[in-house]
Symmetry: C2
Subunit: 354 residues, 2 copies
Amino acid sequence: MVDMISMPDDSTTAVDRALDAVLTRLAERAIPRGAAALALIRAASDATTGGKRFRPALVVAAFDAFDGDRGATPGLWDVAAAFELLHTAFVIHDDLIDRDIERRGVPNVGGTFRSRARSLGVADDGADRIGDAAAVLAGDILLYEAARLVAVADIAADQRVPLFGLLDDAVLVSAIGELADVEQAVVPGEPETTQLLSTAHDKTAVYSFCAPLAAGAVLAGADAGDRAVLMTVGADLGLAFQLVDDLIGTFGSEAQAGRDAGADLREAKRTPLISLARETSAWPQVSSALALAPTGPIAVRAAQRELHESGARDRLVALIGQTLASVRRRATELPTEPRALIERLATGIEGRIP
Amino acid sequence: MVDMISMPDDSTTAVDRALDAVLTRLAERAIPRGAAALALIRAASDATTGGKRFRPALVVAAFDAFDGDRGATPGLWDVAAAFELLHTAFVIHDDLIDRDIERRGVPNVGGTFRSRARSLGVADDGADRIGDAAAVLAGDILLYEAARLVAVADIAADQRVPLFGLLDDAVLVSAIGELADVEQAVVPGEPETTQLLSTAHDKTAVYSFCAPLAAGAVLAGADAGDRAVLMTVGADLGLAFQLVDDLIGTFGSEAQAGRDAGADLREAKRTPLISLARETSAWPQVSSALALAPTGPIAVRAAQRELHESGARDRLVALIGQTLASVRRRATELPTEPRALIERLATGIEGRIP
């Protein structure tokens, strides 16, 4: 995501300052309430570090593209930071739901509190309970803080309701996508490709693309027509982004994926790519290769080869191409600068295809 | 809680209408996203039913006591309803943390989604994953909706920031109390009585007493001095309430407790009452009786008797009395009607002592 869009340094600083203000205020209120309270806020704060601030960058980029007046919109940075808090809350709760206690090789909130509990002499089951509780509560605090930041941001009074309309969908649609993702992983039988595509969209597109882009536009005073176009292109950008992510999880290098190459194959994840392969005549060979993929890197490479030869990979790349073509078509309705921003995002997503 | 405070019928209707509006709006947006999405909103909605609307009642009672102008404050009902949504979100996440899949004998969100998963052919571990995911997400949605409702409520612009100041503490202090509660249950060694008292306060007092009372006062235009008094008496009312709850969990009838009589003894819960007993010379007898309590109703009655004879029960009742005396002393600084409200609450809490 890094290279698709980046903020000028002064914007990064302003967003980070808004985030720091939230986290410092939480820490100051936690300190008098003891070590566990402070550890909870520290773990939540740690979860915000190392992020690329992609969603805040989209808010600011859309604001600038619609020629927003930064001097007249002091609340811009708080609204941008709110999307990072929302993202962090979702990541923490996603890890909890997936029973992951690490993220990118580092203990996450649940992992940190499991270690903390063990150092207090707590046995395994008790440490799991504490770890899970901390993950629930750290996510809750950051989710609440995201909403609070938008509620009290220094913005025009008539912008608050449209911004909350965007956050509403960001929260609800992501939750629905997350639940569908879990169900599709464990319900017997194979989900339809269309269902998998809709889940891929719901998990990411609204909160990572539609809502940040439209929020920047709202703050810049863009009209309702342009905002509606942003919502549509945001949905397609988000879907394309997620499908490229599936390609990376299957075919990407370790460096690109940020985890073992072919990790999705090792975990036998049900992705749109696999679903497309099932629709081809090569499925018997693909299926046998997939069954072996969890056994090691040679089997992973064989599965990658079969997926490629089945034509599923080409079909997914074609689908991504169509989705981005639709983005570009719709973007012609936008003024020059927002259109250039959307083009930059589409090109950035294409450039990540492994 | 029912009889401590109740709203006039028209207020109950107005709060329920505000809640219904939130839940209906969620359901309408979930329907196009499929059966699981609607089931999630239905489960979240079910979690709000049957509640006594105690926290909304406090908001409205404080508003009325400070002579708030209902006609000029259309957002009163949304703010009151927000506290019920916050409470429901906490209850859902509390059940998740405690690994409970029922509440008052009825399947909760996690229980409902476990059944739903099994009916889709999902095996046990998968059903647990789906149930836990649904509980995380339903709580997230309601927590967000609570904040949203206050953010967009039709209230005076200068009331929004003080209201969020109250919600901030309601969320943070409750989260800290919840985490401490889990830690005290599993960390080896016995927590100090003062720690248990502080957790009892943190889990409930701020979000159930201080914040709703002060929110009603903010909306009515009460001055900062009166609001500060409400925060102080709210903290003590909440502590006293929670301590009476411990007495009910230990000595209350099944009807009063809403679960098996002596349930806290069966579950060997670490309560301030037990902690007070440990400080008496009768602890060896109490301890032996407590060790047997999980075995059945006769042993529960023996443990109740030992706790009584140790003097721990009397000490806890005295502590509740002192806490409520402090409430009444502080309440003399309030105008007549708010003072009468606080008196009604104190009397109501005393009246629940089993």
